[in-house]
């Protein structure tokens, strides 16, 4: 059985199911209780699990830090950070503790915390509400970084993240929260972390994209006179290098698309890995179609900042025509 759900609904359903499945799962974060979260991703869960959903005081360092303690004491904390930008307030706890509790204790402890956070642009939000720092998080060993690109992935990847024994930053693309409906399995549906998927097969060029950029890529492809293969990594760290490499070995050309600024973005990592693993198959320089190296502008200029179908198509054309 399956239901037609939006991403935010899939997230909520999954949270409920995982709480029912495992008593040690607790939800907390700013406004996740009574209000059900600013995007309503936890709506109704406080009623369903009265002693397991908590409104936290404001303060993201506190949220991440307390999560480390909850995890050490045997809970499976699922924290919501209201917008990804505010996870910077908790970055020290993430880097110094959540990611290292296992290694620092030589495996005596693990830190199975899941930090859910809406990310990315495209919904005309306030300043600081459109960040995508997946590359920075992926540069923190000990963390996993997961980004679903559809409602069904939202469910399968969130379930896997909550069950994962290591800390996961789970980044939910705000632009997809309500804009997309999809059939989502009602039963236990788990997508293993670290496995990419080929969203569209093609022979001429490989495009790697995630989050709301995946949808844009899929529609940009229609405008391009080439047979495009689209790979959706789903997990940013650990990255499924094999799937990407295989695709590039087949197509010989590659484009990476992401919202984050180009410099030191995760596109750089993907380009580097491809260049290392598929060098002799590359027929043209890999392309990056990304945000610019400027602070994400406020929303009136957001469209000019975010890669759109036109820029993506142009990037693909460059890769194909070179």
């Amino acid at each position: 059985m399956a239901s037609d759900l939006r991403l935010v609904e899939a997230v909520k359903a999954t949270l409920g199911e995982e709480m029912a499945r495992d008593e040690s799962v607790v939800l907390y974060g700013e406004d996740v209780g009574v209000a059900g979260g600013v995007f309503r991703a936890t709506d109704g869960l406080l009623d369903e699990f009265p002693n397991r959903v908590y409104d936290s005081p404001l303060g993201e360092s506190g949220i991440v830090g307390a999560g480390v303690g909850l995890a050490a004491a045997g809970m499976r904390p699922v924290a919501e950070i209201q917008f990804q930008s505010f996870l910077y307030q908790g970055f020290a706890q993430l880097q110094q503790h959540a990611s290292r509790l296992r290694s620092r204790s030589r495996g005596g402890f693990s830190c199975p915390i899941t930090i859910r956070t809406p990310y990315g642009g495209g919904i005309h939000a306030l300043e600081h509400h459109s960040e995508s720092f997946e590359s920075g998080f992926a540069h923190v060993p000990g963390l996993k970084v997961v980004i679903p690109s559809s409602p069904a992935e939202g469910k399968g990847l969130l379930a896997a993240s909550i069950r994962d024994p290591d800390p996961v930053v789970f980044m939910e693309p705000t632009r997809l929260y309500r804009s997309l409906r999809e059939s989502v399995p009602d039963d236990d549906h788990v997508i293993p972390l670290g496995e990419a998927t080929v969203a569209e097969e093609g022979a001429d060029v490989t495009v790697v994209a995630w989050g709301s950029m995946l949808q844009r890529t899929l529609s940009a492809v229609d405008d391009v006179d080439a047979d495009v293969e689209v790979v959706n990594p789903r997990t940013i760290y650990p990255l499924d290098t094999d799937t990407i490499t295989e695709s590039v070995k087949k197509t010989g050309r590659c484009v990476v698309v992401h919202e984050a600024p180009e410099t030191a973005g995760f596109g750089a990592e993907i380009v580097s890995r491809i260049t290392e693993t598929a060098f002799y198959h590359l027929e043209a320089p890999p392309e990056r179609v990304t945000g610019y190296d400027v602070p994400v502008p406020m929303f009136a200029r957001e469209d000019a900042y975010l890669p759109d179908e036109k820029r993506i198509a142009a990037g693909i054309r460059r890769a194909v025509e070179t």
Binding site: E30, D31, V34, L126, A300, R301, R318, T322
Partner: protein, 360 residues
Amino acid sequence: MPRTTVAEFSVESLEILAPDGSVDEDLEPSLSEETLFDIYRTMRRARRLDERAVALQRRGELGTYAPGTGQEAAQVGSAAALAEDDWVVPAFREQAALLTRGASMGSILAYAMGLEEGAETSAEDRALPPAIPVGSQALHAVGIGWAQAIRDEDAAAIAYFGDGATSTGDVYEALNSAGAYGAHTVFLCQNNQYAISTPRENQTRAGTLAQKAVAAGIDGIQVDGNDALAVYEATQRALDQAREGNPVLVEALTYRRSMHTTSDDPRKYREEEEEVDWDRKDPIARFEAYLRGRGILTDERVEELAAEIEAELEDAVADARETAAEADPADMFEYAYAETPPWLERQAAASRGGGDADGE
């Protein structure tokens, strides 16, 4: 002395104007009629601006907007106490405080239209742009107030933040380091009872927010935040202390009468009764009664003012629309660095060309 009391503290609260507009004459500050009228005028401007902004948002012309309705006395009363050289460091709901300091409605609307133009400020304005990350701006006011102390200048900085912000490490580090540095800083906490849906009681076990000052060893005072006179008076005194290197935390008790932002629905988390209760304590009605009692306001003047405000609003909306129409997206490249680095210049060129020019 095996068991001794080593320190004692208390938090005082100040009220001057009762909800019905009657005044405690012993405490009434001596303000000119002009100043009093200005406070009233700005509160009214702010209230109408909120209404208009929400309407524009509903029509899709504005993005998310955070109304300050109900908090006008806390903002205008405090900002009115600032000297010309003093600095304002706002959070994201301080339209009323900014209007008091001379910001235009047009720029406030432009900001809500997602335009950096609306946040354009400089040292001459003695104001920082709005701060969205809760609590973060308190530290900027410490730096500014500390610079005054270092340079032995007289100016002070006022930081605005809410009840929710008092739970953040940044606000605490701000209070504490302001004390340590002897910064010329006043912290104006608008306790409007909610941080989005989270009621103040869930933020902290502390009975007052003013007592957060105790942790920093600085003075803290509570004030009726719907009483413009009390806020003015308390801020004035706090500024005087701050200019001497003694920072102060002022907790203004008020109420966010409207939604958190235009994306919020307060019905999810609070009862109408509570709202009605607070309606009765409205800061503008109270101040108006006081001014009428003193003969400073008449029906005529009130009507005149309303008309002026409508005209100002129309102009502001027109201005903001013009700013929006003229906004050049390429500005984002210009203001990232003083001098645009080559790789970024390349990105800018590619964006002009519509693609990314990589080629060798």
